[in-house]
Amino acid sequence: MAEMAILIDVSRCTACRACQVACKEWNQLPGEATTFAGSYQNPPELSATTWTLVQFRESADGNGLQWRFRKAQCMHCTDAICHAVCPNDAVTKYPEGNVVINPERCQGCLRCVESCPFQVPQLNPATKKTAKCRGCVDRVMNGLPPACVKTCTSGALRYGLRARLLREARARRDRHFPSGVVYGEREMGGLHVLYLLPDRPALYGLPEGLAGSAVLGATLARVTRFALSPRGWPRK
């Protein structure tokens, strides 16, 4: 099965947040009781009931005022740490790229929560289980695009063959964003959520330096730490 991916072209994202709503609708996630705390970004962070979130970053430095929008969600890593550290085999990696937590098996040990370099999986305090974006595995295995991609009107989100999306993202970067970055090609062994960024990843809140062997080392260290931790691997 060919590897698939979502390409998030942030240059096209207008932060309408239809993706945020479509995700909740398809996955039947409840609206959270939020308050306006001074930013359009709401809920403030990803949570067990908010699997995707458009982040708003305002900066007045450098090239005039910038308001940057980025849709945050699970990156569906090839080297998925959540998969590596899970003691219960609750995380499934699909050949298409989806990384999915099985709530039946999750025991809420928080290892994935603590080790994800993107701070994606979150504990649901009510169910004591971890939850995150599943890449709409139920839709894509039935020939439908993920719900967020389906609803995106501006063309910021696309779903397709990973290799093709990478090619197209690079071509668009070369044409329009000379200092832009295609993020996700090699990060964490290759992400299945790719970004076309007009500027440095850090300006969008994305960690830099996840593409080298240092990452693997850090990952192994984390795995080892968990393996040796007092909690140990829970036994069935």
């Binding site: 096209r12 207008t14 932060a15 309408c16 947040r17 239809a18 945020q20 709503v21 909740k24 609708e25 409840p30 609206g31 959270e32 009781a33 939020t34 308050t35 306006f36 705390a37 001074g38 930013s39 359009y40 709401n42 809920p43 305002e58 007045a60 005022l65 910038q66 308001w67 940057r68 929008f69 009107t153 501006s154 063309g155 329009h176």
Partner: protein, 779 residues
């Protein structure tokens, strides 16, 4: 829109002024992005840096209520820098016409001002005419009395320095915008203007739009692919609602609503409402076909086709005047369908009070609204309210069949996907049943005043109306055999045809073309086989102007229409918005603006305030008018009352503006948890400098006060709002979304408790977008 959504992608320069399109029309942004990919420049002129500004190439922060100063500056720049398409102006506009020698402008007023009655005698606002009745003209545009030279002189005062001092836009930013947009005056280039309520919600709202007309005519941008003046309408069917006479001054198809004073008889109506030239000469055919559609067999020549049955308005029947009458107890009942005036009107404190003077109020909506619950508003004692309120559940768009007409005039059919829940019924059901029951109640009456109801031709079935029958009537048909007419050119003024809305006629001749779904594979994105655009499926209005006077297109790569001399007809990617066989050299062959009596685009066009837009300050303004001694629109009358006081800048030094958010639709979405979680509270956007001055911290509650009321809101302290430097003075501004009200799962104070009840001199649209306030910490 003169053009349509997809056509925005054809543009070279997109000037967005008075619209936050990325947030209020998210889907439209796809076409703006498509133009950007082709290399187009996107300019956003707006008081606030919004999600639209974030995607634009340039953001230009304009003080609310100074659009005319800004646009006037662009008009001056285009003329003085010689960027005007002179061939276009000479051939297609009234720029060459000579104006009455007595016409002039002095000290902020045009000639003919009647100080006592605050209105204009328009005698000098006219063209000099030759013995043949035709206007005298100077095609070289040099005669000192010609429109073009008047225009040049009028805007000579609108220099970049003046623009900066009035609007707060820095001189260099203004010049950058001016150079980029006015470059579309070159033949082969196309620039579009996108606007919305930020343009119209002012006491000079109509003149704001007139500025767009003048600039686009000067640059030769009308009629072109990627050009035009494009009003982004607020909902899926706002265009359709105004097409059907929802504006207080018009009948379906923008025919004038009869006024008692001007139109006591059919003869007087037809005489006054039929222009001597242009397409309007056909108005009697459309009007009488409308009367025939409404009163059928009863409408005959001998009784003036039941003209007497039509109510004739007298006095001011605008929205603000309606609430004044209500407050005064002159209006007894009100039916509100799909609107929520208790939060969306200007100065809603007054409007809520006015609702309490009604005998009865019917509200149809999806949820209980503030209007239906006005008697339970904060501070209101329900036992003191005598109004009887009926809240009836409406059905959603998914629960009814019918057409909607989008901003680009595309009539598109939609299908019901499910039955309404419970007792919910469509608005069509409601109106059908209301009329049928009224007719039954009047049966047997011999009184003349009941004839209009009894004689009404009303045959759409019982219960849920047959929308197919309605659609056929809208298209129009021959009375004798009920066969549909081909289009409005078949309509007659002798009672032999009936037509519900002439501008849409043609959409349902042999088949309902609103249902057509054929996608264009190559061309300019006109998609002639997708739905049906009024009039006659024309996608770009005035498209004769897409070609040079000789008939060759200005831009061979984006042909809309071109004259084919061999075939002897116009060909191209659209339907000609004029006679298809009219040669460029034939009489009238260079008259693209067919709805004007002379066929020419109106650089000079009398509105209430004058034939050229002139800057006046908003009714509440922090500064004096720098362009003249006339501070405010002299034609606007302020209703002075204890509920409608104006604030002065000493007490209320901060400029405020109101707007919508992407996450909410009016007030109804405050019932939906997924949307409320994204925008949970009423907030006020404040610039960092003002917040520091007032000691307000991001995220804390503060109070905003105007002369009309005060509200609580959470502070959103941001760099996206900046103070203006006006003639050396610093003026701060705040921004207020107006979605909130006192019911729903997310509740908050309504921004419109602060806005003034004062409207534009031509349309009476209230000044929601520029008023004065003050702000302080704490609730």
């Amino acid at each position: 829109m003169t053009n349509h959504w997809i056509d925005i992608g054809n543009s070279d320069a997109i000037l967005i002024i008075g619209s936050n399109v990325a947030e209020t029309h998210p889907i439209a942004f796809k076409w703006i992005a498509a133009a950007q990919d082709r290399g187009a420049t996107v300019i956003h002129v707006d008081p606030r840096f919004t999600r639209t500004s974030a995607k634009a190439d340039i953001h230009c922060a304009l003080r609310p209520g100074t659009d005319i100063a800004f646009m006037g500056g662009l008009i001056r720049f285009a003329i003085e820098e010689n960027l005007v398409n002179r061939e276009y102006v000479a051939a297609y506009t009234n720029g060459p016409y000579l104006v009455h020698p007595g016409f002039g402008f002095k000290d902020g007023l045009f000639s003919g001002f009647d100080e006592a009655n605050r209105r204009y005698d328009r005698t000098t606002w006219a063209f000099q005419r030759g013995p043949d009745g035709q206007p005298l003209a100077d095609p070289a545009l040099q005669h000192p009395h010609c429109v073009f030279q008047h225009l040049r002189r009028h805007y000579a005062r609108y220099t970049p320095d003046m623009v900066a001092a009035v609007t707060g836009v820095p001189r260099e930013t203004f010049l950058k915008v001016a150079r980029l947009f006015c470059a579309t005056g070159a033949p082969g280039k196309a620039g579009t203007i996108l606007y919305a309520m930020g343009t119209t919600h002012h006491t000079v709202g109509s003149q704001n739009v007139r500025c767009h007309t003048i600039l686009q005519l000067l640059l030769g941008n009308m009629g072109l692919a990627g050009g035009g003046i494009n009003a982004l309408r607020g909902h899926a069917n706002v265009q359709g609602s105004t097409d059907f006479g929802l504006l207080y001054g018009s009948l379906p198809g923008y025919l004038a609503l009869p006024r008692q004073q001007d139109h006591p008889t059919l003869a007087s109506y037809l005489e006054k409402e039929t222009p001597k030239g242009g397409f309007g000469v056909n108005n009697p055919k459309f009007f009488i076909s409308l009367l025939k559609a409404w009163w059928g067999d009863k409408a005959v020549k001998d009784n003036d086709f039941c003209y007497d049955y039509l109510p004739k308005v007298s006095g001011d029947c605008s929205y603000p005047a309606m609430f004044e009458a209500m407050l005064a107890g002159k209006l007894k009942g009100l039916i509100v369908i799909g609107q929520n005036p208790a939060i969306s009107g200007a100065n809603v404190g007054m409007e809520r009070k006015a609702l309490g003077e009604l005998d009865w109020l019917v509200v149809r909506d999806l949820f209980p609204t503030e209007t239906a619950s006005f008697w339970n508003a904060p501070g209101v004692d329900p036992t003191a309210i005598k109004t009887e309120v009926f809240l009836t559940p409406a059905s959603t768009y998914l629960e009814k069949d019918g057409s909607v007409t989008n901003s680009g005039r595309w009539i598109q059919w939609r299908y019901r996907v499910t039955e309404p829940l419970g007792a919910a019924r469509s608005d069509g059901w409601f109106i059908n049943n209301l009329v049928l029951r009224l007719k039954r109640l009047y049966v047997g009456s011999l009184q003349g005043k009941d004839r209009p109801v009894l004689d009404l031709h009303w045959g759409y079935g019982e219960d849920r109306p047959d929308v197919d029958r309605i659609a056929r009537e809208v298209n129009g048909y021959y009375w004798v055999d009920r066969k549909q007419v081909r289009n409005f050119t078949a309509l007659k003024d002798d009672g032999s045809t009936a037509c519900g809305n002439w501008i849409m006629s043609g959409f349902y001749f042999e088949e309902n073309r609103a249902k057509a779904r054929k996608v264009e594979l190559e061309g300019i994105g006109a998609h002639l086989g997708w739905a049906y655009a009024w009039p006659l499926n024309r996608r770009i209005l005035y498209n004769r102007a897409s070609a040079r006077p000789t008939g060759e297109p200005w831009d061979p790569d984006r042909i809309v229409m071109r004259w084919d001399p061999v075939a002897g007809r116009w060909v191209g990617n659209d339907i000609p918005d004029f006679r298809a066989d009219l040669a460029p050299s034939a009489p009238g062959g260079q008259n693209p603006f067919i709805m004007r009596p002379d066929g020419k685009g109106a650089l000079f066009a009398p509105l209430a305030e004058g034939p050229f837009p002139e800057h006046y300050e908003p009714f509440e303004s922090p500064v004096s008018n720098l362009l003249s001694k006339v501070q405010r629109n002299p034609l606007v009358r302020l209703k002075v009352a204890d509920w409608n006081t104006l604030g002065d800048a000493k007490q209320f030094p901060i400029v405020a503006t109101t707007y919508r958010l992407a996450e909410h639709h009016h007030a109804t979405t405050r019932y939906l948890t997924w949307l409320v979680e994204m925008m949970p509270n009423m907030f006020v956007e404040i610039g960092r400098e003002l917040a520091e001055e007032k000691g307000i911290k991001n995220g804390e509650v503060c109070t905003v006060v105007s002369a009309r009321g005060q509200i609580r809101a959470v502070a959103c302290v941001t760099d996206r709002l900046k103070p203006y430097t006006l003639d050396g003075r610093t003026v701060h501004q705040v921004g207020l979304p107006w979605h909130w009200g006192f019911i729903g799962i997310s509740r908050g104070d309504s921004a419109n408790l602060l806005t003034p009840h004062v409207g534009d001199a031509n349309t009476q649209i209230p000044e929601f977008k520029a008023f004065l306030c003050d702000i302080r910490r704490g609730g």
